[in-house]
Symmetry: D2
Subunit: 259 residues, 4 copies
């Protein structure tokens, strides 16, 4: 009432509901994480604790937001897939974007000490994000493949680069040596010069991380004869799989099931 | 290259740059803060520490993002005004929204212990946000007035409500007693029943909080005769003013200066 | 060059490309056609010439714009479906909307005399339009069903209404008599009072009109022995079918074929 | 009711209302008018009849749509400015775009014979359009200046080009001769080679056309002594003015008056 004179300013808000029957991807990306990881002396090319922290945040996300059916993470980036029929906040893009990014950030700061017990946070870690709609499950698979190919290319390059640097090359020299090399050249270099079989590099580094819900058998109680009673439960799980090929999706058809 | 087969998925991203020559407001709002403040036993109707934490986050925001020219906060909500000519991330709405909300959240969690040294965070605090464009400085003033009127109405109501509850009424009884009362009735009630002069309630509760940059004279060093050398500096400051009337804006014309 | 000082105004234009992998529907609707049809004494409830003119315009549309794969029209409304993979004007919504509406309008005025040789156009006929994206062929079918159900409901009602009015009822009386009647009541009324079997009403009135490309055998020339040489050609055709059930679509699977 | 099963398809329609407190420009542009003007043997570089027809359409537009406060046209293009506070179709972009383009097109075809009594329309003329928002009157003036500078540059070039071609040069030769020339070079060429003073070229060609409402004194009736009774009326008028400089706008301050 008293407020009505100014309330017209609400009319400037726009309706940003995302179209129905589209899968929604929120991709979160560390802001100035180059600087952030330097400030906190993250290991190169991969800091296992930092990745584990990212993954723990992603697990929290799926536990908090039931409409997220799958998440894929690599480096300081994570993609969250909301189910096609989601009615989360009436599919309003700003709501979905802001509160997922915010929740992720809060968990990241709160869990920091768990993963870096001996390091203090020197500055606020923060993330930007974007929301994209995809009209088919098939395209979501292509989206995730796009991210995993990126993971592969970057990780292979970075593995070589930091091996060279740690072996005494300058960063510029390392860069020069890698310019124009193909995937197999890099594998060769790793093996010949450093005795590293790239396929033995931890899957988390090579494949990134997948978070989803899976059926897990759990002991829920013990009966009067002290025998365990087991139940099948849906639980948020983490793994490092190939998600470009069909196998993972054949084994988990319910994740990207279309209406 | 190797990636090109999947890269078409980028085409689904939309261009969300906000129109030029518009002031940009990001309004951040606590998500499920009713529950959050109950979990952390915030004082009713206003928890001074919680408000001070919100304000500290807002100050950090202006220190981090130079394009924010003004912020106004009340309760678990904060509005940030970006200058009309801002080119921050080319004015892309998702970038602006996500990283400001994320930064605010990170600071909130990091500074929690400063303001609540004896309370642990029990769950991640998180915020949603929205971005709105306003084509005139005059409308930004109306926007801010809208928020401050809201602050006034809510705070006056809540002050009465909690006074009644603390005096022994049930929440339902308090609600019934306030139904249909006007502003002056509530002032009367506060004064008659509780001896409270509403105008003496702390300005932070009644007026909300303003954060902006102001010229501040600072001693920057001492000269050889040990006399202080003063400089005028722009500094982020906090205050609790009436921003509906013209006075504040007359005194700070540079804040909403149009191109 | 000389122009650069003002060229910044182009920055206010927005990118309105429609998302890929979505069928595009342009629905055109007569503006103030209630008045327009009164001014030109269109027959009630259906003016055959006016519908034939609309259909002729739709045929011209498919001949002019190869990306339109199907059109459905009823009364002064026509929906045009552009194929999912269309790259017509890079899928820019304004371009697609404006030029299709404009072309339709131009043809309408140019062909008027063909269908109304004895009536002059008294005022400019004009149409509004909208563009909507649909992510699945299945939803396009639902969209078209929605329009055809509307056609049925309106035509059955209007047939009854005008029969009553022509038989001497006032418009208000006719309206009252039809209030709350079901489909079968209306059929009964038509049969009992006017001896009209609704199923014998021309299909164009009951079903609306479909325009699409079909394989048609044509005589393209005569060989030396004067025997006709036939070729299968794709030709724009018009029909009045049920498009809610599966038959039409089973017979024409190529129309809504997904990528 | 019966329809509800399919009505969900309406949810795919988006809310496209344009932001308040913004001037709205609809710019209409001939589609394939290069071909269209060749087919109808338009004179080069300017066909007076074709321009007069465009202008007549623009006048009709202002007569039909009261929210259009100004129109500026050049060649086969016309810009229509809707007043800042317009609530025309609740400012829905598709409605505004489609029905203005459609109305313009209908009038173009209907008035063709008036301006080309000896030429038949050989194909449907059609136009595309776009809608752009501008938050200040000052920017609308810059927008209009942008179009008028364009008019000047194109017309001066085309005048030279066609003079050269008519004097016997090939189109390629003419193009070569004009490459890199400045404005004053072109004026010189016109004067030296063809005795043409560019400033004497008709203003409609050099300046384009402005359509707006102006106060006009009209005789509305004659009193009993047969003396004329005059009234000041607002009438749609057409002129060819400089709209880059301030004079026109000083003389017509009401056209772009801000709220």
């Amino acid at each position: 009432m008293a407020n009505s004179k100014f309330e017209y300013v609400k009319d400037f808000e726009t309706d940003d509901r995302l179209p129905r029957c589209n899968w929604i991807v929120v991709r979160i990306d560390g802001c100035h994480f180059h600087q952030f990881s330097a400030d906190h002396a993250f290991e190169k090319p991969n800091d296992e604790n930092a990745l584990n922290l990212m993954n723990a945040c992603a697990v929290s996300m799926l536990e908090q937001f039931p409409d997220i059916v799958f998440a894929y993470g690599v480096s300081d980036e994570y993609s969250f897939v909301l189910k096609e029929a989601s009615q989360f906040y009436q599919r309003r893009a700003s709501k979905i974007l802001s509160l997922t990014v915010s929740y992720f950030t809060a968990v990241y700061v709160m869990k920091w000490k768990e993963f870096f017990p001996h390091k203090d946070l020197k500055r606020p870690p923060f993330f930007d994000g974007r929301v994209v709609c995809y009209p088919r499950a098939k395209i979501i698979r292509d989206y995730l493949s796009w991210r995993q190919v990126d993971c592969h290319i970057n990780n292979q390059y970075n593995t070589c680069f930091w091996m060279l640097v740690k072996s005494g090359k300058t960063e510029r020299e390392a860069q020069e040596m890698l310019k124009g090399t193909l995937s197999k050249d890099k594998n060769e270099l790793l093996f010949q010069q450093f005795g590293v079989n790239y396929d033995k590099v931890p899957a988390m580094f090579r494949k990134g991380s997948c978070v989803y819900r899976d059926k897990v058998e759990e002991i829920v109680k013990f009966d009067e004869s002290r025998n365990p009673v087991r139940r099948i439960r849906k639980k948020v799980v983490l793994g490092h799989f190939d998600i470009i090929g069909p196998n993972f999706w054949h084994e988990h058809p319910e994740i990207l099931e279309e209406d």
